[in-house]
């Protein structure tokens, strides 16, 4: 068994310095991904740097009406914060529809963004997997790929990004605020995630030792009527087959503003830009929703077992937009 050390620094700067100095170290927040992957042998850090004592768990109002959520705020606390429920309901719903209450009490919002994929070939630590061992191949392409992605895929990886809340966050143009060895920076959440392309081992922009400090939500009027719809094999405690974060502002029957993002179908949380562009200025009708959904799914790359996701995603988009239009009734 590989030796593993543990430390619990008391300041953000100390935590960053320790991890930056050791290429085989990892931050440890809620542990719901990291401890699991260490036990499976998929992750093998020699040092875990426990950041749970750092002062990064506050929710703060931002000047101008946005909301800053500290990276160590727990999923359960963020989901039930009045400010989130009122102003960004799709985010609250996405959080509550993810995992279980025990896991939501543990998992931090920053850690949620960095969770690894649930692809069984990645997790089994045996099968060829380009994400785990670059260059070994992708076992999912011709394997059991019912849960895998149909958008943003590459010939090297088709793993689905598992986060629910990230889907709501890309719909709302959230910003990820980080601190690292090269100082602080902010990254638009859509840019934060990388498509697998030729380098599926890289899932996000963070460099080693760079820590997510907070997630910032811009003021967004249309988000107040937003919702999160999740379709899955069992009703609770399950990852999405397809999910939709949707928000819609309709004026005199015409779509003035729309936010649409998809989960369960993309290799990253999927902002449905093609559909949005089609919808703005169009009449708010089921026919328009269906046509926008078809446009979004046009580039879908399906495999033996996941072709059903195309139709499921289209229907979920229509239902999500229809519900958002009628004030959030599911």
């Amino acid at each position: 068994m590989r030796p593993l050390s543990y430390t619990r620094p008391q300041s953000v700067n100390d935590a960053i310095a320790i991890v930056s100095a050791n290429p085989s170290s990892s931050f440890l927040a809620g542990g719901t991904t990291e401890v699991d992957l260490v036990r499976l042998g998929v992750a093998h850090p020699d040092l875990l740097v426990d950041i749970n004592e750092l002062p990064l768990a506050e929710l703060e109002e931002m000047p101008g009406g946005g909301l800053r959520i500290g990276a160590l705020a727990r999923m359960s606390d963020v989901a039930r914060a009045q400010s989130v429920m009122e102003r960004y309901p799709a985010m609250s719903e996405a959080l509550l529809l993810g995992a279980s209450e025990q896991l939501r009490n543990m998992a931090s919002i920053g850690g949620n963004l960095r969770q690894r994929v649930r692809c069984p070939y990645f997790r089994d630590n045996v099968s060829p997997c380009n994400k785990r061992e670059p260059g070994t191949g992708c076992s999912a392409l011709e394997g059991l790929n019912r849960g895998h992605a149909i958008l943003g895929t590459s010939e090297h990886c088709i793993a689905t990004h598992p986060s629910d809340v990230a889907v709501a966050l890309v719909a709302f143009d959230a910003v990820v605020r980080t601190v690292g060895p090269s100082g602080p920076r902010e990254i638009a959440i859509e840019d934060f995630y990388l498509l697998p392309g030729d380098t599926p081992e890289a899932e996000h922009q963070l460099e080693h030792g760079e820590l997510i400090a907070a997630i910032e939500l811009p003021p967004l009027e249309v988000a107040r009527g937003s919702l999160y719809l999740k379709v899955r094999d069992r009703q609770s405690y399950e990852f999405a087959l397809v999910s939709v974060a949707a928000a819609l502002e309709v004026r005199e029957g015409v779509i003035a503003d729309v936010r649409l993002a998809l989960g369960g179908v993309g290799t990253k949380p999927w902002r449905a830009r093609r559909a949005e562009a089609e919808l703005v200025g169009a009449p708010a009708t089921a026919a328009e929703f269906a046509s926008a959904a078809a446009l979004e799914l046009e580039p879908a790359d399906v495999r033996e077992h996941n072709a059903f996701k195309v139709e499921l995603a289209k229907r979920a988009i229509v239902r999500g937009l229809t519900s958002a239009m009628s004030g959030g009734a599911r």
């Binding site: 050390s5 543990y6 542990g31 036990r39 426990d50 279980s100 896991l103 543990m106 009703q235 609770s236």
Partner: protein, 147 residues
């Protein structure tokens, strides 16, 4: 207690402290059999490192009864036959007590949703829900009487 960093809270409780009430089901956060409270919140002991609990209060099923009197939730599980093999029961009970404190037990639908992190392979769910309803209603009656 001197412990290796990779040891989970669950293994520390069971193997090092001899507190075998918390059960190891999946050991990967999918079954809920290891549910305990850390600083008053229900969490999974299998995905918690023991080292990270230094200075924190951990409560297991062994700590629920006081002076030999079972906790009302333990009594209700017995009264309603809320188990068959019993392996998931400590986790179910630790979760159920918190469910009521959290205010997430007002309907059967809510109970099912917010207990979904505790799997029962024997499918004793209807009886588990009955036990939870009873404790919820008794707690409410006590509150009303006190008001």
């Amino acid at each position: 207690m001197d412990i290796e960093p990779r040891v989970s809270l669950l293994d520390a409780l069971r193997e090092h402290l001899g507190l075998t009430g918390s059960k190891k089901g999946c050991d990967q956060g999918t079954c809920g059999a290891c549910t305990v409270w850390v600083d008053g919140r229900r969490v999974l002991a299998c995905l918690t490192l023991a080292a990270s609990c230094e200075g924190r209060e951990v409560t297991t099923i062994e700590g629920l009864a006081s002076d030999g009197d079972l906790h009302p939730m333990q009594r209700a599980f017995i009264a309603h036959d809320g188990f068959q093999c019993g392996y998931c029961t400590p986790g179910q009970i630790m979760s159920a007590v918190k469910l009521i404190e959290e205010g997430n037990a007002s309907t059967d639908e809510d109970i099912a949703e917010f207990m979904s992190g505790n799997i029962c392979r024997c499918a004793a769910y209807p009886n588990i829900r009955a036990a939870i309803r009873q404790v919820r209603d008794e707690a409410k009656a006590d509150e009303d009487a006190a008001a």
